[in-house]
Symmetry: C2
């Protein structure tokens, strides 16, 4: 933070610079136990009840992309943040910052998507706010959603990952990188049809199925900005275990793989909006995988790796060509404004 | 909404067009009892507990103004929304949307202000999010704060105003219009020293004093965008009573009055960020006024009017020169981006 006296795009990328910003600035000044536990949702004890509370701003560009729009995204993203904490998502707030001159028709489509997705996810938008700024003072539309969920005592350690052990398996619920490539393909500057749709979806039902199935769920996180690679690094970071991932098990669509090759991206770091990494005991892994596969949002689920008693603090990828490489936290984001 | 197919600045002004937008678009699609009750915070029943939940985005321009900055504002505004609902503010979320190139030093000052004000208001920032957008894609910095508070059963009807009766008195806790004029004076285009400071302050302690003093508090609302005039119209709107306000009782600083005259503003519609309108029974009014005056944020408090059995649905102002005029909901905002 000393080297740069101005905010860079990468401070919002979810990678290293974001981590630094949070650690060195926000945690420093907002110092409290709940915030610094770094869970996806704030876990609140309110008058003896455990409440999960989370917030996210959405600045995706463009607003509309194959498979969704900023409104759908704003619901899914926040619902998923609550769900991966082990909480039952209940209520959302929504804050719009709209550029003067923005089309009503577009706003209506977005608002409808929000309502539809909220209905699907069985959450209520219970409070909101609207600001409009002068033309040129924001990029069309930004949305903030905050969410509240109810957390059962037995799920309290899922977001901390405290109970992760050697031998635990790591599951992903399907193809990775779809969201990032769908947004990229929707950007005006590109002149090709990618036929990739965003995976943008609310995962709370799938996650509830998983929690109903097993009481051996050690950790969950949705792999959004920074992709699966970043989440794996976050799991391993500063822990007394390593992670081993099998590249051949990673579900990646052929066209996403192709796009990534063309643009020089690694699918491991490309954003998803409907993918969750689940760490589960070896014992329960197959049953949980089956449960996930039975859900329409988990048909392509796979066990992609495990927690190992080697390479402590590191994520090791066994590559398709029988090599090994270390998966690092990305220094910056490959694609800005993906969510 | 049929006439304009694009969003106008006034859709975010808090006046008529904002009301129309909320009624005709958001309520229509997000339809649920809690949202449509139009309280300042969403009042949630979570597992038998009453939780208040609110959200606000802050886009004030400039970010720094006499008496505060966007960070302090983002805490006070959301704390006050919870407090006027009768809830004890507990937790805040904070979401930053930052323009690439924004100064770290400025961000640090703002973050410090947030932390200081949160400490003063005795609330915790428990979750957050940071997005950075390309230079030119937002105006320096926007902040969203959402908040959660605990609401006692006995205070549940304060935000609905259901219990308002003829003869109830209306109290304001001090000078009106300071915030709007302070922000205006800080704008670069103006070349004069106004010596007006924003009244930006967290009112939860003052409001708690009031609630401890009287169980006859019928309604409270902070008079932010749209000012005292807009809140009075909201109280009277569609109700079986009228409101009578005495202009001579309205506390307005001489320099604010002067600025308003120069720029053609009506102090009644100028934004405040530390003012609450309280409707209280005639019986308890004097005691509550005394309690407010004993708080440093209420020294200049005054009873400015009452609920009457005339002019149903209207707000009538008895002017200084013994005239009468109807206070209308403003069609648009006099000053955009005031909060």
């Amino acid at each position: 933070m000393n080297k740069n006296s101005n905010i860079l795009l990468n401070h919002g990328s979810g990678g290293r610079l974001t981590h630094d910003l949070i650690q060195n600035l926000f945690f420093k000044y907002f110092d409290n136990e709940i915030l610094s536990s770094q869970t996806d949702s704030a876990l609140l004890k309110i008058d003896s009840k455990n409440i999960a509370f989370t917030t996210d701003s959405y600045v995706v560009d463009p607003l509309f992309f194959p498979g969704g729009n900023i409104g759908k995204l704003a619901v899914c993203g926040t619902v998923n943040d609550l769900a991966v904490s082990g909480a039952k998502a209940l209520y959302l707030s929504i804050g719009f910052i709209i550029e003067e001159g923005f089309s009503f028709d577009d706003l209506k489509i977005i608002v409808k998507s929000i309502a539809e997705e909220a209905k699907k996810a069985n959450v209520k938008i219970v409070t909101g706010d609207t600001k409009v700024v002068n033309k040129g003072k924001c990029d069309k539309l930004f949305i903030n959603t905050s969410g509240i969920g109810l957390l059962q005592e037995k799920n309290k350690e899922i977001s901390s990952g405290k109970n992760i052990e050697f031998g635990d398996k790591i599951i992903i619920n399907g193809f990775i990188g779809d969201h990032g490539m769908a947004v990229l393909s929707a950007r005006n500057e590109l002149n090709f049809e990618a036929n990739v749709e965003s995976d943008c979806a609310s995962l709370n039902n799938l996650i509830q199925n998983v929690l109903d199935k097993s009481d051996q769920i050690k950790f969950m996180r949705d792999a959004t900005r920074g992709g699966v690679g970043t989440v794996l690094c976050e799991i391993a970071e500063n822990r007394k275990f390593g992670i081993e991932i099998d590249e051949t098990k990673l579900p990646v669509r052929e066209n996403v793989k192709g796009m990534c090759e063309i643009f020089g991206f690694d699918p491991l770091y490309v954003a998803n909006e409907g993918k969750v990494l689940i760490v589960v005991s070896n014992e329960d892994a197959e049953e949980v995988l089956k449960t996930i596969k039975n859900n329409s949002l988990g048909v392509e689920a796979a066990i992609i790796g495990e927690i190992i008693n080697e390479h402590h603090g590191l994520v090791v990828l066994n590559t398709e060509i029988s090599g090994r490489r270390i998966i690092d936290m990305p220094a910056g984001e490959q694609l800005p404004r993906i969510c």
